[in-house]
Amino acid sequence: MRPVLLIDFGSTYTKLTAVDLETPSILGSAQAFTTADSDISIGLNKAMSILEHSCGAIDYQAKLACSSAAGGLKMVVCGLVPALTGKAAQLAAFGAGAKVIRTFAYRLTSEDIDEIRQAEPDILLLTGGTDGGNSENIIANAQALSCDGGSYPIIIAGNRSAGRDCTKALEGSGHPVFLAPNVMPEMNRLNAGPVQEMIRDLFLKRIVRAKGMSSVSEVLDGILMPTPSAVLEALTLLSEGTERTRGLGELIAVDLGGATTDVYSIARGDPSNPNVFLRGLPEPHAKRTVEGDIGMRYSARGVIQAVGAERLANIASVPAPAIMDAAEAFRSDPSKLPETREEQDVDRALAIGALYCALARHAGTLERVYTPIGPVDQQTGKDLTRTELMLLTGGALIYAPDLTGIVNIALSMQDPTALTPRHVKALCDSRYTLSAMGLLSGVDRETALRLMLEQFGKEGAYGAVQ
């Protein structure tokens, strides 16, 4: 046996998966409440003893972990033009597994600086200007940030001609400064890889410690990455496969949480109609977005705001005030489970609304513009209409009795201009396999893929659909 332990410190649960690389097979899994407020190792030890109970004591070859505990990786990003370096910076941060709490463009005002200091990001990503392009804006922003009294690390990834001046401007401030290659070195070319590597590195070296996790990092072989980054790795592997084993092709995944909703797409997203004109910054093949206002518990109100109480009430077949009341109850007690029939219906409607909204924001849009030579169809973002596989995770969905129904309604509600999938096969990640396999892919890609295919591939698929 070559056993490996994979740990996901989630915001609510610490989830363990034990894998034997030799067979290969999943030996077992277990979970316990995350104890980030006191000592994170309490929750870990508890989950460990549950796991030991079912699989016996195991001497692991490696223990790998990812984490989204203690608020995850909170980032603020600053660019120059919102649709260009602002967007590039945001896509890069999302892809690195961060929660982008605020995106700024152009010059930072003193109010912006106050807001950033209060938000206390784990990392600030400062961009602006193509290489050889605008340098004034990023330098001015570096100067403005230098006297905010904060001590969060700043990654500078803008116009390379401005790098040194930015570093100089921040010298002597409390901010550790890291210089990375430009996120948009030339017009409309996203260069997210190097920045993402740096974000992950900072997460590993500094942030894990700052979040009171050093007690466990000694027993582990390291907290390798933020959980969403592990999930993105897993999905990319599952979609693309390895040299030896074919993947499942283009896919989408949604993690519907209590406070936020993450959407991932591994897809090219080119226009399905050759007459459609593609506009804007080309988006990454493996794309992740996070909706901070959309979730099942803390953010239930955000779902109502985005979708409308009437519309949700119609879905749930309850009067609109009942939606408001239930949402308020879920918000004030996030651990509350729906009990009555009405609560269950509202819960389901919230899941549909959240899914609808998060998918619409992640996918591209198709817009018809009328020009002197007639109508022209133009696309911004990714066309996901032909994507046929959707993986779902998140507490609210994995216990839902009619997952396929929830997904189908969320898809049928979409505007015709939203380039969301039209028909999908919905599969559920009920055992939180994705984050574990993302971690494992760093050790043994082939095994990680095989284990995922067992669950989500052709054979496993039918077992997982409810």
Partner: protein, 143 residues
């Protein structure tokens, strides 16, 4: 350092051949060209000029609707902080065969610095750029 030009064909215009020729000609002449290709909106020209700190924006229009597409361009540049950036327009910028002097006047009034009639070779544009960008007239930067 090489001067930066933002180049593109404005509006819903898909005439791509001249754009490619201009791209190569300007690069050969030593400019750094940010080519946005065809179907470029005013906003896209301006955003690209801001990020790349361009010295000039070169607009082509071939399909006859240039006058409509170019309206308000200068004002938008001003609004975006590109005060005084060099603005050129060329191609078949209006419908049919109108007297060029009148057409030129209309585009100059719109705030374009130079207007080039149908069939103008790229060399004429290059000559004008070298004249206009020599010395201190470095616009998009921050004057």
């Amino acid at each position: 350092m090489a001067r930066t030009l933002v180049l593109g064909v404005i509006g819903a215009d898909v005439h791509a051949v001249g754009n490619q020729i201009l791209n190569y000609a300007f690069q050969d002449a030593g400019f750094h060209v940010v080519n946005l290709g065809v179907m470029v909106s005013q906003e896209e020209f301006i955003e690209a000029a801001v990020e790349s700190a361009a010295d000039a924006i070169i607009v082509s229009s071939l399909y006859g609707h240039g006058e409509l597409d170019c309206q308000g361009f200068r004002e938008k540049c001003d609004e975006a902080g590109l005060k005084g950036i060099l603005l050129y327009v060329g191609g078949n910028i209006v419908v049919g065969k109108q007297p060029f002097e009148e057409v030129e006047q209309r585009f100059l009034k719109m705030g374009f610095d130079r207007v080039f009639g149908p069939g103008t070779p790229p060399e004429a544009g290059i000559r004008a750029l070298n004249e206009d960008l020599s010395g201190d007239r470095r616009c998009g930067r921050s004057c």
